[in-house]
Symmetry: D2
Subunit: 254 residues, 4 copies
């Protein structure tokens, strides 16, 4: 007789029981921040204080980037067609492909492959960039259509350095940036995707989870856009991601 039973190691449920990776959900609600719980469910183990702090910063970094990213256009377009909030969020998450957010995955994959090889970060960067040029490929996670220097990258690396997460992957990323400029003649700065890729790799995460960090971080932003569309715009309006203006509060300090 056919037996299709399958297994899951994530959460154990039963009447009155919900245990994530072995921990009672009510204990988690008492003692963990959301970012700590995210770390636990993705990694299987609780983060220490440094890992928890790093998670918070990574998840805050990509929460929104205004109305220009295509995922926002996806979410607003679904909402504009007369749909529910979950459909609108799904429409935005769908857009987060190889060319948008997906660079974290590809960038982390390449870095995790190359750091296993012998040699200094500089030597590896030289070989990697030569390899990319020979095969006419671009290094994912470098360059940004808007920012000359991505402020999120600098802040992420600063926090990672304070927490001692700047390991061989981050060194390789910085060496690649320098090598790309040397060989290509112009700066292709590490963008936030590349920075997240380096830091999560130094934290020990599998590159195949890379896009997941971006999705978790960006979903609240997509919900804010869906809600704004729902409450301030007419259905079936003309939509685009260039012809908008910021109308919110001016600069302020926390």
């Amino acid at each position: 007789m056919e037996n299709n039973q399958w297994q899951t190691a994530i959460t154990d449920i039963g009447p009155g029981k919900i245990r994530v990776r072995g921990y009672e959900i009510t204990d988690m609600m008492d003692k963990l921040s959301f970012a700590q719980a995210v770390y636990l469910i993705l990694r299987g183990e609780l983060p220490d204080d440094k890992e928890a702090r790093m998670m918070e910063a990574i998840l805050v970094s990509s929460i929104d980037h205004g109305a220009s990213p295509p995922s926002v256009l996806g979410t607003r377009t679904v909402m504009s067609g007369g749909n529910s909030l979950n459909a609108a969020v799904a429409g935005g998450v769908l857009v987060i492909g190889d060319s948008h957010g997906g660079a974290i995955e590809q960038s982390a994959r390449i870095m995790q492959e190359w750091v296993k090889k012998d040699g200094s970060p500089q030597k590896l960067a030289e070989d990697l960039v030569a390899d990319l040029r020979a095969t006419k490929k671009r290094m994912p996670g470098f360059g940004h259509r808007l920012h000359e220097t991505d402020p999120r990258t600098i802040k992420l690396f600063e926090i990672a350095s304070q927490l001692d997460f700047s390991g061989r992957h981050t060194e390789l990323a910085k060496a690649i940036e320098a090598e790309l400029e040397k060989v290509g003649g112009r700066k292709l700065p590490i963008n936030v995707d590349g920075a997240i890729a380096a830091v999560i790799s130094d934290m020990g995460f599998d590159w195949r989870l890379g896009k997941g960090f971006f999705i978790i971080s960006r979903v609240p932003g997509l919900i804010a856009h869906a809600y704004e569309e729902m409450t301030t715009e007419k259905p079936m309006r003309k939509l685009g991601n260039t012809n908008y203006k910021y109308s919110g509060p001016p600069e302020r300090k926390i």
Copy 2:
């Protein structure tokens, strides 16, 4: 000439500038937890300490519920068809409709309507339950197919009470639970959807954002399931949400 320019009050971007609701993203990365940043982007203002603590607990509460919810089946099915992580997450978020997670929205809408009326929570609950029975409708956010008493509800109300968020909506929710038992003859406990609905209403959130809290909370769970499916199962396998077994770590304490 037609002018299609539109406005957004969420995030202001420019070269080297990313300001969410007026705050620099780098300041946010330094000083806010992810849950605080979520509060800011949804609400437009920073949370105080109590609001921040409440947000953490709400977002942790619904991070996962094992392999039985249909959103997990949606995510795993998309992954099993040979798709990318973002498509799998979108497939799960799509499932979060009126019958799954959507109860937060509907429950909060009803509570926010009824608390505006005159009368004690008990009186309102009597009228509301009579009204529902007359129109043969169910009260969303009450009853659970698995839990007789939902442990997440008890913990959420406990934390809300400690933080002084137990206002008129929570009182109404509890009065509805009592009235439903009195009139219907059996307990229909407030489930986690109903509890979140009551607490976010007491915090002042618009009911139309209700489903958003569930989506933000559950997306990391969906990513954990997508990753597990991707790394441990074969494509196109037979799938269902009853024939599985928990294979993770046994009970442990934080």
Copy 3:
């Protein structure tokens, strides 16, 4: 012991056997057009010649409407983010909500409710329009942001009339159009959604299938747009549904 077995009346499969509503798929491939097979799978029975001819015209009518509909923007945005063809089509289908294509469903629901009442189409239209005005609602399927008279409506009604499908629902639709103009002072022409709603109602289809006709018809158009985006545009480009130009073949005759 729990028994979760469920039933489906659509297709019976087994080794070497695929029977849709009882008919062998190979027989269907030999003897049915695609539109006839669509009728069979939705309705459960084969169409006669007139029903088959009507199905072809309905499905052709909504195959595309250029680059302005939000569903096209949804599909192109997902493709532009670096995703697969199926994700891009899903992104477009997601947009087809209450405000876009969904009017077929709502319009057919209202018409199917009202034709059951006693009275001439004129009398019903008067009551229905008065009812809508009293509750400040719009009649779905009437009015178009671009076409003063929707050419697809005229052609659909012409073919339906030739095939004797112009029954009480179509008469009601035309009476509503006349009444809306009389009472409102300006023409709100039946659009293609309203016309499909009337015709499928006269053919005996349940209004809950209404949006399905639009989706089946439009999916090939979405695929053409996804393919054009994939083969002629760069990823992550700026996108909108107003700033485009038609660059295809000039007018020609079949």
Copy 4:
């Protein structure tokens, strides 16, 4: 000044004007079957009689395969969560990835690459199979988990042969099937994906449209399943793709 205007060669619209690839939609409604219109919009030109007949058979072939495919589970799961018809269809289309329907794309890509090389189909098949074995890859579009011989393949090749569409791609497909059996010791029959891949390649379609044929064909089946779920099942029920039974009409003839 920045100019973001973009171009589309699919459909030209204006007040009272809808022209697909240059043809008036009303002319198309009068003179084309739906399958002919699908050919036109995908290919840019009208099909001749043989191409039209082939399109009908291809689109009929994959309209449904019962309740076991994961795309049906995706559609039913979204519907079961309490969502609209378009969200349910999107949920099913999302599942149609590399491992489900996506084989058409990959199979057509490989065949279109290899037929350009010199040599008889037999010689090419030998080299291709040797190549696949050396790189430990499988040939997409061959083998089926249920059918020993896929009846749709036989019928498609029979019709293609009658219409003179059995060209070099179909010959290569048959040679690959023979070679796989010779080298591997057991039959891996061309499945419907592989057969469609061969036939559309012989018709001159780009392999990147491959998955599109499957999606267009299967969407009506997904709608039938969504409608059945909506009208006969309770929300949030337990769901799976093994524990179901066919309850429709017995075998019958067209």
